[in-house]
Amino acid sequence: MLNQFLADAVEFLPTLLSGLGLTVGITITALLVSVILGLTWALMGMSKFAVVRGISRTVINVVRGIPIIVQLFYIYFVLPELGIRLDAFLAGALGLGIAYSVYQAENFRAGFASVDPSLLEAAQSLGMSEHTILRRVIFPLAIRVSLPPFGNTAIMLLKDSSIASTITVAELTRAGQLLAASTFKNMSIYTLIALLYLLMSLPLTFMVSGLERRFKRK
């Protein structure tokens, strides 16, 4: 049986690896989008203007309240009717990035909230500008709190990138599905897929716990 599995692995891996490439691409792009938007929502949430805080809260509640798959369908099938046409990869990455931005916003918010306000007063007393305070005090302290949950969010995003298969992106899951449908080698193929996902997520997991340990010390 192991021999059979290895033979299947040799046969199917090339196809699966090209799917894996798309999975990595979509995950990294979506991660980037989610960080930029998440940071935006988090910073807006701390604004001194109630309107800006309100917008941030509304966006977060709306995005969090809609299933990711529906968001992807909306971007891929509905936006074209409004004249905005994105290819499947871009629609998937953008949709996942938007969906995940609200979790990132919460990670960043918790990080910012962890910064002792008395440190900001110390920084202000030194004459630091708001921008310098962000760069020299808030970010470096907040990141200690934000990074571990950020890692967990990245792992979830990696797995959820398989949702992009529903809008025809031939990423890892979809590539496997197509192979399985034509060869009926379900066991080999889905085992391979599971192993490939683990291969990507386990290093992330170790990185997260490593970071957690390192920040706990200082």
Binding site: D116, S118, L119, E121, A122, A123, Q124, S125, L126, G127, M128, S129, T132, R136, V137, P140, L141, R144, K218
Partner: protein, 241 residues
């Protein structure tokens, strides 16, 4: 160098500073005393603009304190905090050079050299690379003072700099503060250390319910206070039950 004229501060419906008027000459050391909630911290915080005063005028070397002038004001006035407020992710030396490098734009190498000699001066020459969490309260506060001195300020505001310290650590911080006073730096010190006030202060101000009710030499205020409230307060501080 610092003047306050009819300064008031209101939090919500609570008036915390009332008609505060006094002047501080360059190089003068002033101790500010008064019971909890009388407005001492708020007064200090208004002088360097951490809190915006609602009425009256505050000037620092002729510059009126306002949101537009904060940068200039803060370049002349440093602050030392009760709870030290050191940056926990930076070593003692990094805390000291943070302002010089990232506010004043000094070259890191020069700032480090100056920072080391400042830390030496406060008795921490061998602790430059320690993080705040690795320092005792007294050591942290001395780093706090070195951080203030590194900005080369004309005045330093001290808000109860020894109140969070173990009793046996108070002396080392007061000693450093005496050194600062001897260097001719203007100081406003909120403190309950009456012996420090008596020996170092040029003047003692007593605050009660937002008013300054005594303003005189340490000798006058501490031994011959004008109002009963001061006597009661001194009695409580000097003879705690």
């Amino acid at each position: 160098m610092i003047t306050l004229k009819n300064v008031s501060k209101i939090f919500g419906d609570r008036t915390v500073l009332r008609d505060i008027t006094f002047e501080i000459a360059k190089g003068e050391v002033i101790c500010l005393i008064g019971s909890s909630g009388s407005g001492k911290s708020t007064l200090l915080r208004c002088i360097n603009g951490l809190e915006r005063h609602d009425g009256g005028d505050i000037t620092v070397e002729g510059i009126p304190v306002s949101p537009q002038t904060l940068k200039g004001v803060r370049s002349k006035i440093a602050m030392v905090f009760q709870r030290f407020n050191l940056f926990p992710h930076r070593t003692a030396l990094q805390n000291v050079i943070e302002g010089p490098v990232h506010v004043l734009g000094r070259a890191p190498r020069d700032a480090e050299k100056a920072g080391r000699s400042l830390l030496e001066r406060v008795g921490l020459g061998d602790r430059c690379d320690a993080y705040p969490s690795e320092l005792s309260g007294g050591e942290q506060q001395r780093v706090g003072i070195a951080r203030a001195l590194a900005m080369n300020p004309t005045a330093i505001l001290f808000d109860e700099p020894t109140s969070a310290l173990d009793p046996e650590r108070v002396g080392e911080v007061l000693k450093v503060m005496r050194g600062v006073a001897a260097d001719g730096i203007t100081m406003i010190v909120v403190t309950h250390e009456m012996s420090f006030a008596r020996q170092v202060a040029d003047r003692v101000l007593f605050m009660d319910d937002g008013y300054i009710v005594e303003n005189g030499s340490a000798e006058e205020v501490l031994t011959r206070p004008r109002v009963a409230r001061t006597r009661e307060f001194l009695d409580r501080v000097l003879n705690p039950v």
